[in-house]
Point group: C2
Chain length 338, copies 2
DNA sequence: CTTATCGTCGAAATCGTTTTCGTTAATCAA
DNA sequence: TTGATTAACGAAAACGATTTCGACGATAAG
């Protein structure tokens, strides 16, 4: 009961392997009649050509590799969903690897994917990644590469991103418009572009509305965890009681802050408003429900695959491909915490 | 700059392809000297044999397939982590597919993996799966199969599970010991074994402590969502005000219930206690923090891979393999909601 | 000196597909 | 009738690694 081969079909229909192969791929030098017969039989016995054998000739593995910084992560899981659905539609298998936010591991995973001869790599850069040599190597090896969410301004490749700066700006402006004047920012780590951009959006909003920017109101979350948010909330309450709103780089720190305020019986949003970023499922479930910026992960994943596929088709035709940057729309989700 | 082949090494060292291949695999009929030379050179140029070509001869793809019911799911993400880490250590690549809790899709994904010639399949059965023909087919095709978490009592294959009945029993007993007498159960769907077992554990605990079991205190969550928990919490408050504790089949419904109670200013755990199941990260972040049963996903994933690997080794030796069932330990996590 | 043994190595077949390049027979134009 | 064209099919050579089976020279045994 093992898998059938072209040979099996050939002997069954008294044809050559060549003809069977060509019939299945609609070559013009096979009669319509034989094509019909072959296709019907192939369908009947549920034949699929052996992917590994095919690779050997075509050098196409029909596999793509995806590297994300964290596996257990609402946003990235959504991106994966988008990638996997789009990939399946085009007959691609997906190999998922995680860099665990580690630069070293990220390099290793890139290497594993190249050794596996994937047809393309989609990845989101780890927070700790500070140089892009391993990434540029991918392009040098002539493998299509698409970055998403965490991208690099240095690398010449397609990317699917959101406009972090604008999104952050809108979020902070919403806080301002609801009367907040002393807005703190729980920012992300220093390397990632999106963490930088969200910080810049925060500053821009303050600037536009002539609110003071104070260094000591910016707290850096290195791991973007709820624990960090919890700790900084305590700091804020203890040392900066004048703060009346928090804009966090992500939902997790925001939720950690909410947890601390709840424990201290600080009323949200009356005494202090909290704004997250990403719209994780959990943000609708905490009390009070968290206002945040919706980041459409699934769409981003699908677009990323499409960019890869587009590039691959052009390469096959021998045409040049100019890297594209796709910006996906975000939206403000106002709930009870602001 | 494409990938090197055995041939490249052979010509570089003035040896035959055969000798190079054998040297790398430590065949006894290659001199220690040549082995050293070949290995050194292979390392220098960072050579890895082409996996697809190797497959053609050995029929081993060095890939395993994993099917989970949901991608965006804290517990399953943890399982994946365990699987992927263990797989990497043995040089295996992992192809992850999701059944989206759909029986039809599950069948399709099994088919995709078999066509891909994976060396083994690890899977968790979808809630809607009601027959196991597609699963039994895997074993019939002689592909090692390991089930985890959602398993089937009908299929003859290895499984990694927890003792759902005992775990549920302990959780409910904890509610009873803290003085609760009218305990409701938000149960899971009807097919999955673990949903059944948790329900049985609930009943057993009531029985042991001579508390009445009431049908109308059991509510079925078909999709195991927070929305269902939210809705049932309203039902409970409106129609069964005597209920003083809820044991939910999973964390999500429990959190939905907490949300509703918070909105209604029902104090937890004073007026009503809430117990979840699984220990998702979120359960420590809601207010009040949710008591729950810890389900060690990563360990389960690792064990699942190990079972697969064990079976594969025995099969290669031509020995028989008797399916094993591994039970992983759970633990009660008491927080503020009980 | 002949035969057997051993230690090293390679030629070649194989896995299943793809694709180039013939080959054959039938058809057409002249 | 002859030569050229076309339609339909197959033989065979890749792809890259693995593995069986010899081959060869050198040594040991008789």
């Amino acid at each position: 009961m093992k898998n059938l081969t072209l040979k099996d079909i050939a002997t069954a229909l008294d044809l050559s392997i060549t003809t069977v192969s060509k019939a299945l791929k609609d070559y013009p030098d096979v009669s319509t009649n034989t094509k019909k017969k072959v296709k019907a039989y192939a369908k009947e016995v549920n034949f699929t050509p052996n992917a590994y054998a095919a690779y050997l000739r075509t050098q196409e593995s029909k596999m793509i590799g995806v590297i994300i910084p964290q596996l257990n992560h609402y946003f990235f899981s959504n991106v994966l969903k988008g990638i996997m659905n789009a990939a399946e539609e085009e007959g691609y298998m997906v190999i998922i690897l995680s860099s665990e936010e580690s630069y070293e591991l990220e390099k290793k995973q890139v290497d594993r994917l190249m050794k596996q001869n994937v047809d393309g790599i989609l990845m989101s850069i780890a927070d700790s990644t500070h140089d892009t040599e391993h990434i540029d190597n991918i392009s040098k090896q002539n493998i299509p590469l698409v970055l998403f969410d965490k991208y690099s301004k240095l690398s010449e490749c397609s990317s699917v991103i959101i406009n972090d700066q604008n999104a952050a700006f809108t979020a902070v402006e919403h806080l301002i418009k609801s009367g907040r004047k002393n807005i703190a920012h729980l920012r992300g780590p220093l390397f990632p572009q999106n963490s930088i951009d969200r910080f810049l959006g925060y500053r821009k909003a303050l600037e536009k509305h002539q609110l003071p920017y104070k260094k000591e109101w910016v707290f850096t979350c290195h791991d973007i965890t709820s624990d960090e948010g919890y700790t900084y909330a305590k700091d804020i309450l203890d040392k900066h009681p004048e703060i009346d709103a928090i804009f966090a780089v992500a939902d997790m720190p925001a939720i950690g802050a909410i947890k601390y305020f709840n424990e201290q019986n600080i009323s949200i949003p009356e005494q202090i408003a909290v704004m997250g970023f990403s719209n994780w499922k959990i943000s609708g479930l905490v009390t009070p429900a968290l206002s945040t910026v919706n980041q459409p992960g699934e769409t981003m994943g699908r677009k990323a695959f499409e960019l890869f596929y587009e590039e691959l088709q052009l390469r096959k035709k021998g045409e040049k491909f100019a890297p594209k940057i796709i910006e996906v729309e975000t939206s403000l989700v106002v709930r009870d915490s602001t």
